[in-house]
Amino acid sequence: MATDATQPRQAGEIETALLACAAGDKSALKRIYEVESPRMLGVAQRLLKRRALAEEAVQDAFVLVWRHAARFDPERGAGLTWIYAILRNRSLSILRDEKRTETSDTPIAEETASEEDDPETVMSKLSDATALRACLEMLPPQRRGLVLLAFVQGLTHGEIAGRLKLPLGTVKSWIRRSLLSLKECLG
């Protein structure tokens, strides 16, 4: 896919390493760890806000990658996409679990996100080369902000509605319509 511009240099390396993991080669997992763990920790930190939880998510993700490497199928998708899907799923589980038992007055979702993670800053950091950037730019800023808050900070429909003081139905329909426009633009 032309838009997979995140790390073209490593295309193929991750897939090879995952196949080696499936064969029981732990040094292959270590290679993935060395290349990807700082960014994975950055992604988990944006979702979970707390360092200890972000580390736990990355730790769990690597154990899961190792455990399920045999199920990775290069025909069905890229290795990095697979790894980050595991990381994101694990992070979101931790995020939703954490919210259920939290006693702190500052639930994770309301904990101040770093300014770096706010939608327009994230937009400015998006590589010019990606189709996603061009297509997001075609959306009105507020609507694109909703999509970015969901993906980057892991907010639910309800949390986005609360944060932006918008009715829940509006948030749901704006995100859905944004996805329809994005799909049309991305092809």
């Binding site: 995140t6 196949l19 736990e56 190792w66 069905r76 998708g77 996409t81 990606t130 996805l179 799909k183």
Partner: protein, 248 residues
């Protein structure tokens, strides 16, 4: 929103997008995961969204992991019952659809393992209860307070005469000028109440006085200034937390 049945419809694609954004919850998410396993068109749509949104993950500021993170991962791997190598030989490299969903399902297996760990700590706590039993001090309820990494840091016991005590199970690093504050929460509307402040991990009675006390009540330890939280609410990092369970 009813899931669109037609694999080519834009609504169906948007549903895949919402799944990738992490916006589906409960039944909707379960349904999407089931579909991911059964329906290759849906799986393709999900993979496309993931690839596009990967550009956003690329904008995250990298954070150098702590030195011990790799050894924690190795420890996690070592704890697995079935080595991945044998799984690899059993599985063809290109099996049919459903692997994505499989690994997702196995997250529950993984979480099951975490719960087994938690259960082991509860059994440990029950063992402690047994020791106390000799002194005819049977608690009514026990809460095992777990750290982020599911290690048992302390237990809270409640007794028939209204006494509540906390016993640490491991030492806790308390920096100078800081203290450990213990909180309980029985009703979110009321919020957490402070029930104890200690300078280091040691056994301590908790002052619940006239506060309610019941099953599934949350206790947690946070790190606060030496004189206690200035706001009367937890402000520092959570050291450990857990909820009460009735003794059999």
């Amino acid at each position: 929103m009813s899931p669109a049945a037609d694999a080519t419809s834009p609504e169906y694609n948007a549903l895949a997008g919402e799944y990738v954004l992490g916006l589906l919850e409960g039944q909707e998410r379960d349904a999407a995961e089931h579909r991911l396993e059964q329906d290759s068109a849906f799986a393709t749509a999900v993979e496309r969204w993931r690839r596009h949104f990967a550009a956003l993950d690329a904008t995250a500021t990298p954070i150098t992991p702590p030195a011990d993170l790799w050894s924690r991962i190795e420890a996690g791997i070592a704890g697995l019952i079935q080595p991945a190598a044998s799984a690899a030989t059993l599985r063809p490299a290109t099996a049919g659809p459903g692997r994505l969903a499989e690994w997702w399902n196995s997250l529950f297996v993984w979480r099951g393992a975490a719960f087994a760990g938690a259960l082991a700590t509860i059994l440990l706590a029950v063992g402690l209860v047994g020791a106390l039993d000799r002194a005819k001090r049977q608690p009514l309820m026990v809460a095992v307070l777990l750290t982020d990494s599911n290690a048992a840091a302390a237990v809270v016991h409640t007794f028939a005469d209204g006494r509540v005590e906390m016993l640490p199970l491991q030492s806790i690093d308390v920096p100078a000028g800081k203290a450990l504050e213990i909180w309980t929460l029985w009703d979110r509307a009321v919020g957490p109440r402070s029930v104890g402040l200690i300078d280091r991990a040691r056994s301590t009675p908790l002052r619940l006085d006239n506060l309610p006390l019941g099953k599934d009540q949350l206790f947690e330890i946070t790190l606060e200034p030496a004189t206690g939280s200035p706001t009367g609410r937890p402000t520092g990092p959570i050291i450990a937390k857990g909820t009460t369970s009735q003794r059999l």
